[in-house]
Amino acid sequence: MNLEEYAAKRGVLQPAGVPTPRGMICRTPEEAADAVRNIGPAVVKAQVPAGKRGKSGGIKMADKAEDAARAAREIIGMTIGGSRVEQVLVEERCPIERELYAAVLTDVTSRSPLMLFSTEGGMDIEEVAEKNPAAIRRHAVDVNKGFSAADAAALLKGLDLGSASDAIAGILVKLYEVFSSRDAELVEINPLAVLKDGRVVALDCKFTLDDASVVRQPDLAKVGSPPEMTKLEKRGADVGLKFIQLDGNVGVLANGAGLTMTTMDVIEHFGGKPANFLEIGGEAYTKSEIALDLVLSNPGVKSLVVNFCGAFARTDVMADGVVKAWEKLKPTVPVFFSIHGTGEKEAVKLVKERLGIEPYDLMEDAVKAAVEAAK
């Protein structure tokens, strides 16, 4: 889960003692105007959990109250990176001397936290990594030892940061503390600015909370931005089902992430288009009844593939849920089954007896038939 800039600054950086500019969160042009009267010349920034806000026109300067009102009027309601802007951050404009980059993230390759620092801040770090990889310094952190002031000094050594050097090192140490104590997947400050008056402040912040740690960070989960979802996706999420709505017309109900992706792939291979991803693997296999309801609620669905391959998930339990939902909903779309693995005999018998449908022996054949029927 991502946090918007303001939520990350207020919820994560400020409590940790990382300096940020003065700012106010505003939901209307009037509030934005008041904010500028209060703090002086400002930057008005769209609050969305996505990057490239500047390029999308989501960041504007405001010297006077009326500028701020105009900027807020233009920005609120925009859609950036798929998210609608509901509020803007009106923040004190800081005279910048130098823009730096600092981040900590989970590195899959080294299976450890990775601290990143660059003097080329303010830019897209992916671009810096591509054009001038030497400009990014890295330090893989041993979680047993943490990240000390000495580690920070070593990371910054020879970078000519002048009198700001100590303040930057202090911020890096705090950044790691935040990363490890707040269950972050990523904390990024870009830019980390050295101001003309010598202060070092975080001008922007990105924070991604580890999805598996939401229960351990209830305060951050509350201010975090859940991913944009369609109504059906939301309905799925509410009952613990991962449902992704797509623009095809062949509905998919399968167990396990790998098998579900594969069913979608085989649909495309035979010239069809999948209408959804829906996984009922793991403990979710008992939810096939509600899952089927979701798949069939998608208005684009013209035919349906039910593909079960039971390992942990029992196909008889899943088939029972499907049959019950089918009898209740009485859908008119044609359905094509392929059922194998744990509980297969009982599952096949159930589908034959209650729905009068013969499951296909090969998944490919079930998919081909469903693609044909959706045309």
Partner: protein
């Protein structure tokens, strides 16, 4: 990471519903389970097996090769660290959704230890005719057949389908290694490929990958050096970018982890990549 008859297995979380169900299945299949762990029920018997307060306690005066973790996400770290402290060689972690920072601590602890982790978020390992460890239908003869094809899979459900197709084509399996659907796992695709390459009973390998990460590309580098034929299927070709497809590790982000790069790397290494799971078996049968 290849199960062999006679290896001794400890079940951490044996008294839970799934722990109980799958321990029975493992034993039916010939897996030698020496006991289980549940600190609250230490000293009791469960399924006729002794229950210990910890893995360290369980292995104090009896040999143990493998531990399997049936422990919920927030408690999994302590159980795995216990197994590492006990010096158990292979730790099969079935748990999905372990907090990311717990995973980092587990892997920091694993360094300089004698243990290897398979998973997290794996369905387990199977050696047809010998036994299995995890939540795979190792006891189902219509899915698993003894033979000489080694199978590696990130996904349990898709791995099951692949083995079923092989069995129908009378292509038995020497070992199934489920490596897990998480982004950070203890045994990578390449690790499993190296193990199967060195395994005398394995004559060919089926590598079942997924979009996300770069494990298939890394494995392809190794496949170049192999004499045994390798056939692959990669799931997620039609998945939209930027979305986690059920598995935390199955995501294409910032243009990385996509299907095209994986397929190209494997094909360049001489690996045949199948378009459908059923083609996998067809590709292994000599024309």
């Amino acid at each position: 990471m290849i199960y062999r008859r006679g290896q001794k297995v400890l079940v951490q979380g044996i008294t839970g519903k799934q722990g109980t169900f799958w321990t029975e299945k493992m034993m039916e299949c010939g897996t030698e389970v020496i006991g289980g762990v549940n600190p609250k029920r230490a000293g009791e018997k469960h399924l006729g097996l002794p229950v210990f307060k910890s893995a360290v306690e369980a292995t104090k005066d009896r040999p143990c090769d493998t531990s399997v973790i049936f422990i919920p996400p927030l408690m999994a770290k302590d159980a795995i660290v216990d197994a590492i402290d006990a010096g158990i060689e292979t730790i099969v972690v079935l748990t999905e959704h372990i907090p990311g920072h717990d995973v980092l601590q587990i892997f920091a602890r694993l360094k300089n230890s004698n243990s290897r982790i398979v998973g997290p978020n794996t369905a387990g390992i199977v050696t047809p005719g010998e036994g299995f460890v995890g939540i795979m239908p190792g006891h189902n003869p219509s899915i698993f057949l003894p033979g000489d094809v080694g199978v590696i899979s990130r996904s349990g459900s898709l791995g099951t389908l692949i083995c079923l197709n092989l069995t129908r084509a009378k292509l038995g399996q020497s070992a199934f290694i489920g490596i897990g659907g998480d982004p950070i796992i203890g045994t990578t695709t390449k690790d499993a490929l190296v193990a199967l390459d060195k395994d005398d009973r394995t004559k060919s390998v089926v590598l079942v990958g997924e979009i996300g990460g770069a494990m298939e590309e890394e494995a392809a580098e190794y496949a170049k050096t192999m004499k045994k034929p390798v056939v692959s299927f990669i799931a997620g070709r039609s998945s939209p970018p930027g979305k986690k497809m059920g598995h935390a590790g199955a995501i294409v982000s910032g243009g990385k982890g996509g299907y095209g790069a994986k397929r190209a790397a494997l094909e360049k290494a001489g690996v045949r990549v199948a378009d459908t799971p059923e083609d996998v078996a067809r590709m292994l049968v000599p024309a």
